[in-house]
């Protein structure tokens, strides 16, 4: 009898516990619906996968977003495609590798269930090649919209264009292996619509100290052949360094090309 009473008490204890737990399980509906980017216009037009833009020009961007409850933030992320990564798993080769510095990372606060944001960006004069434009949106609860990425192909007729086809008879890779005293030959060209002024070939050690510098006068030519460079590799104080070709045109616009060197 006594044991029976104790058993009943235990059952009661369970029941109270289950009830307390059960009462708390009345949940609200989750807002797990992601916001959506409904329209993007670049320079007033619906963008294709890759967009041609000019260095030095203004690029306008219009983004319209919606959410079932409350939008919170828009992030605009413009970064160079200097390493060949992609945002959709496909190989792209639009615009080539990015030259010059240009990055935009802008976060804009949003509100309401629908909003259109207009932004404009002035592209620097000294960039050229492939950039990525990313548009990311999150709502108040942190639900992430399916992001949009576009390939920007930045064309530039302001700064000189350096095209290195070959070094020592082969395509330039990520690194140039050299010994002291090696003669380095180049194949390729430098072009500029306004006329080239002068060309510097420079070698720096690992600490950024200049080891060697050569200067060539281009005398206003529209095109200059890289085979004119005559370079004997000097003694390097460090194992690694950089080789740079630095070009100025007659309007003092300049561009630079560089390769990592590994001295043996």
């Amino acid at each position: 009898m006594f044991n029976q009473m104790k058993t009943n008490k235990l059952i009661l204890l369970f029941a109270v516990f289950a009830l307390v737990a059960g009462l708390t399980s009345c949940s609200k509906d989750a807002d797990d619906e992601a916001p959506a980017i409904t329209q993007v216009r670049i320079n007033g037009a619906a963008p294709s996968d890759h967009i041609h833009v000019d260095a030095g020009s203004e690029m306008t961007l219009q983004v319209t977003m919606t959410d079932n409850e409350e939008l919170n933030q828009l992030k605009i992320d413009i970064h160079p495609n200097s390493d060949g990564h992609s945002h959709d798993g496909e190989d792209h080769d639009h615009g080539g590798s990015a030259e010059g510095d240009w990055e935009v990372l802008e976060v804009i606060n949003l509100s309401g269930t629908s909003q259109t944001v207009n932004r404009s960006f002035v592209l620097p004069d000294d960039i050229r090649g492939g950039w990525h434009l990313g548009i990311l949106v999150i709502d108040k609860e942190g639900n992430e919209a399916e992001e949009r990425y576009y390939e920007l192909e930045v064309e530039n007729d302001i700064i000189p264009l350096i095209t290195v086809d070959q070094i020592n008879g082969s395509e330039p890779g990520d690194e140039l292996h050299v010994d002291e005293g090696d003669v380095i030959t180049f194949a390729g060209s430098i072009t500029d619509d306004n006329g080239l002024d002068h060309i510097h070939v420079e070698i720096y050690d690992e600490d950024g100290n200049e080891v060697m510098e050569q200067e060539y006068d281009a005398a206003g030519a529209l095109s200059w052949d890289l085979s004119q460079i005559s370079l004997t590799f000097p003694a390097m104080p460090t194992e690694h360094g950089e080789l740079k070709i630095h070009v100025h045109d007659i309007d003092d616009h300049h561009s630079e090309w560089e390769i990592h060197v590994h001295a043996h």
Partner: protein
Amino acid sequence: MRKLALWCALVVMPLMAQAQFVLSGHVHDDASGEAVPGAVVHANDQWATVTDADGRYELAVKSGIYRFEVRHLAYHTDSFTVEVSEDRHVDRRLRPKNVTIRAVAVHGAMAPDMQQPAVRVDALERRMTDGVNYHLGAMLSGIAGVSSVTTGSNAGQPVVRGLFGSRVAVIVNGIPQQTQQWGADHGSDLDPWMAERVSVQKGPAVLQYGPNASAGAIIVEPSAMMKSGNLSVGAFMRGQSVNDGIDGGLRIRKRWERLQLEALATVRDYADLRVPADTFVHLNRFLPLYDERMVNTSGRADGQQLRLRYIGQRSSHRLELRRTFNRYGLFPGIFGIPSVPALAGDGAPRETGLPYVTSEHRSASYHLHTRIAGGELDVDAGWQQNVRTENGPPHGHGNAPVPTSTTALDLDLHSFFANTRYLRGFNGDKEAFFTVQIEHRDSRSAGWEFLVNDYRVTAGGVAMGAEGWKFAGGALSVGMRIDFAAIAADEYRENLYDAEQDIIGTRVRSPGVRTPMQNWSANLLWEREVNVHHSWSVQLSRTARFPSAFELSANGIHHGTFRHEQGNPELLPESGYQIDVQWALRYGKFSAALSPFYGYYNNFIYLDPSGRFSPLPDAGQIYLFRQDEVLRGGGEAVMQWQAHPKAVIDASVEYVLSYNVEDGTYLPWTPPLRTEAALDYILWNKRRANLSLRPSAVFTAQQKRTARNESATEGYALANISLRMVVPFGRHELHFSAFVHNLLDQRYIDHMSRYKLINLPEAGRNFGFALRYEFNSKS
């Protein structure tokens, strides 16, 4: 009256005794019949010894009448009286206690497999030799209810019923390990070879181990003392193909009459991990993986452990020094903004370049066990230092200058811990305990990145309880604990620079936190053995945990999760209620157990997307620590059947559901439904030599119950096989095993792997071996 007479006899009779005799015997588990190593056998409170690996004890006593007590943490104390007038052999059987609490125990390489009531569990030996694991999480993963949250093969930690980090304490020889203090993914640095005996407590363990064990505990204990005069030398080595990893070590143990000295040294070296993938995704960028290898994930580790044990007549002492060192590369795809050239690697898969982590643990601990005033006193005291550095290519953000060093983060934590537990019998068969625990942690942070600032935590707790009341045909235990913590994290201000890189001001990156907190926990356990076939246990617990300094004040990119994680200084102590039930049955050669649980937390702390983007370019959305009402439920079912004298079949199923009531979403990193079945088949055995085969299959279901923005994972099936051989020759013993994991080379994404975030699968088919040689001077 009988008791008084007995005590008189015990006091008087030994005085009259003269000649010395040997009292020996074995201690066995009453439910399973297996040997119980590590039980302390007392004779009249004057002599004591500890049972060895075979559960054997031996005491030299003079003739007389003795009251013996056999004590072991996992069992009810057994006492008996023996008259010794010649050499005697007395075997005892211990009744297991806290069936729920110690639902799983895995015992050490140096000790035989100990079976828990009705639940057969894999021996630690098999876990160490049927696979290659570099951390406790990987070693214990697969025990029903235990999984592992991992970042590749070299970093991870155990997950108990879906919870981990500061909710699952890793108690190594009495001292909680503090390596997870800088983020939930930093597991214990303990080399699995140092874990001689491991048990897993599934369910709240605050009462015994403090608030950091609010959801469970992994308890690592030293192996049993050897017999007097014994010398044991062991050497071990393992290798596996997925990362060309090799590890091994040497263990020497020597027992004198009262003293035992143990030394252990381990080393490990591994190359870049192979995974069956050629692309991954991070920060919305699709990036290549060259040669199906994760470049720069190689590493090395070493560890040393020295232990001195002394058994006196009334007390035993243990002093332990340990050091572990890990150096491993971080996959450059998740450090900073990933770039394709950095992923190409250097063609040297064993070399570790930037970015890399070094992690060093040093500790000294002392354990005392003695008898005072008719009770037993256990004292654990320890100091530990954990230093973690993350090194990467220097980079500055915004206008900030580029740093000159490669040290991105340098975290240095000192911790002091002391725990005292007093246990005393009363009213015949009841026992009461009283525990006082105190701890101080001091963490310093340096480097050009910021994650969590300098902080200090002083915490302590007092617990008391009693067990042994008869209730509803079973036995009832009750306990309560009060904890306090003073958490002080310093404010961190970062410099602001103009375009000329001059400092133009500062801004608060992490606010200072000064928080005194207190909380309480309680436990009510009822156990009943219905008959020889069935037993029940029900445990009701209130659990309590304090938010960690990381949860309160972090603000930076956590390279373990590749995310910007931000603390919340408003967090309150977390508390919850849980019910754990276990039903175990055994019929002849078949045994099974069912262990459901159900829990409710009023303010569960978790990382939730904040709805705000990180200002850092190498991160997406900020993840913020929040508290919400959460319901958790699930359980495990395990069975074992000896189908044939040479064949044993094991199977288990486990499931966890974690639901955020306020938000209406599921909690992240919840392990999916998992089923495992294995057959142990002895191909050949002769005396102590044997050859056995163990095919096994693991079925993991899809996990679609995910948190906001967390990706779902598909189900998969894995097949594994291992072959084991034991060759004894004289006092030497050679163990060899060979294994193939993921036999069918299945490509799958582990829901609990951090690499899920970058869409990287787990390793493919993995071949490996393990070799262990042991020499014992006496058998």
